[in-house]
């Protein structure tokens, strides 16, 4: 019995570590380039989303955003609009996405521009949305965490003034096609 008790914390530790390792590739990618001056880095904390969702107004547009934002955990963006190795970056980022953890939701190739969206879900709840955009001179990696509603998140594409965020609108279009 005592031995089992000793094993319990070890089990918890291993579970936590393995969960962290799954997400590690993407986090490490963000960390690797967050100080690189070629890129623009944006981080919006869960606290900010929490605070913003407390602001109530009569404005309909704002209320739509509030609905989306109240369940979001955080936003991380890494973007560059004039780099020489956009496609290489895209391929590197692609290799870091743990395919067994994330389900591919959308793939678009338009000319030399590639767009991919993945989601990570547990049960019916989407916990993370990952957007990757790559073209010869552009690169964007965007990650939303929290409880994500795909219909609602596409609304944010109009609100977010970030390069690459407009691709979130494709989520709604692809759903409508289905």
């Amino acid at each position: 019995m005592k031995k089992q008790l000793y094993l319990l914390p070890l089990f918890v530790l291993v579970t936590i570590l393995s969960a962290a390792a799954q997400n590690d590739g993407i986090t490490r990618f963000f960390k690797q380039y967050e100080d690189d001056e070629r890129f623009t880095m944006v981080f919006v904390s869960p606290k900010m989303f929490q605070m913003v969702s407390k602001i109530e107004t009569d404005d309909e547009d704002w209320n739509k955003v509030r609905e989306v934002v109240k369940d979001l955990g955080g936003l991380r963006v890494l973007t560059a609009d004039s780099i020489a190795d956009g496609l290489e970056m895209y391929k590197t980022a692609l290799s870091r996405v743990p395919q067994n953890e994330y389900a591919e939701l959308l793939t678009v190739r338009d000319g030399k521009e590639n767009v991919r969206i993945w989601v990570k879900d547990s049960g019916n709840i989407i916990e993370e949305l990952l957007l990757l955009v790559g073209s010869p001179d552009e690169f964007t990696m965007l990650s939303f965490t929290g409880k994500i509603d795909l219909d609602k998140i596409s609304e944010l594409s109009k609100t977010l003034d970030i390069d690459g965020a407009e691709h979130l609108g494709k989520l709604k279009k692809s759903k409508e096609k289905e």
């Binding site: 967050e34 100080d35 001056e37 623009t40 880095m41 944006v42 981080f43 919006v44 904390s45 606290k47 900010m48 605070m51 407390k54 602001i55 109530e56 107004t57 009569d58 404005d59 704002w62």
Partner: protein, 178 residues
Amino acid sequence: MKAIFSSICLLFIVHTLPAQDGWLYWKYKDYDGMAITVPSWVVEAGSWFLPERQERKLLRKVDKVRFMMFENNENPVSDRDMKRFTRKAKLRGLEDLVVVRDGKTNVRVMGKERRKSLRKIVVMVHSEDEFVFVSVKGRLRFNDINQIIEKYDKKEKNKDKDAKPLIPSVMKIPVSRV
């Protein structure tokens, strides 16, 4: 002996923590640039001149404002001190709300929330040649902020209604592709 030592350490930590927050301001306030501390009584006096009751109410909840700015390639604040400040601010309960890095410019917004009110907001803009630090301490309730936003929202909407279009809608401008 151990107990005495730990109590002394605890007392030291409790005593020094409040001073850590404004540490960056106190270190650099005498450098060439602009550094202002606005105490609560000045904020209160300033509120008398505001015509709207809601604005007066909100301003009276501000206890202290600190502002520091360096420009024209005279930024003495080192990256090391910035990191140190962020670390210490987090120990004091301030949380990152938004972090943006674009090229060599870093923008960081930190905030502290307690009992449904914003107790402190710190905004820092840091680049090689410029530095801006704004710290607002107070008890800003979300309801008060909501009311102000709603008021301005209504004003903006009324403005849009009253605004006359530059070109009357009946006038058609012939456009042809050359």
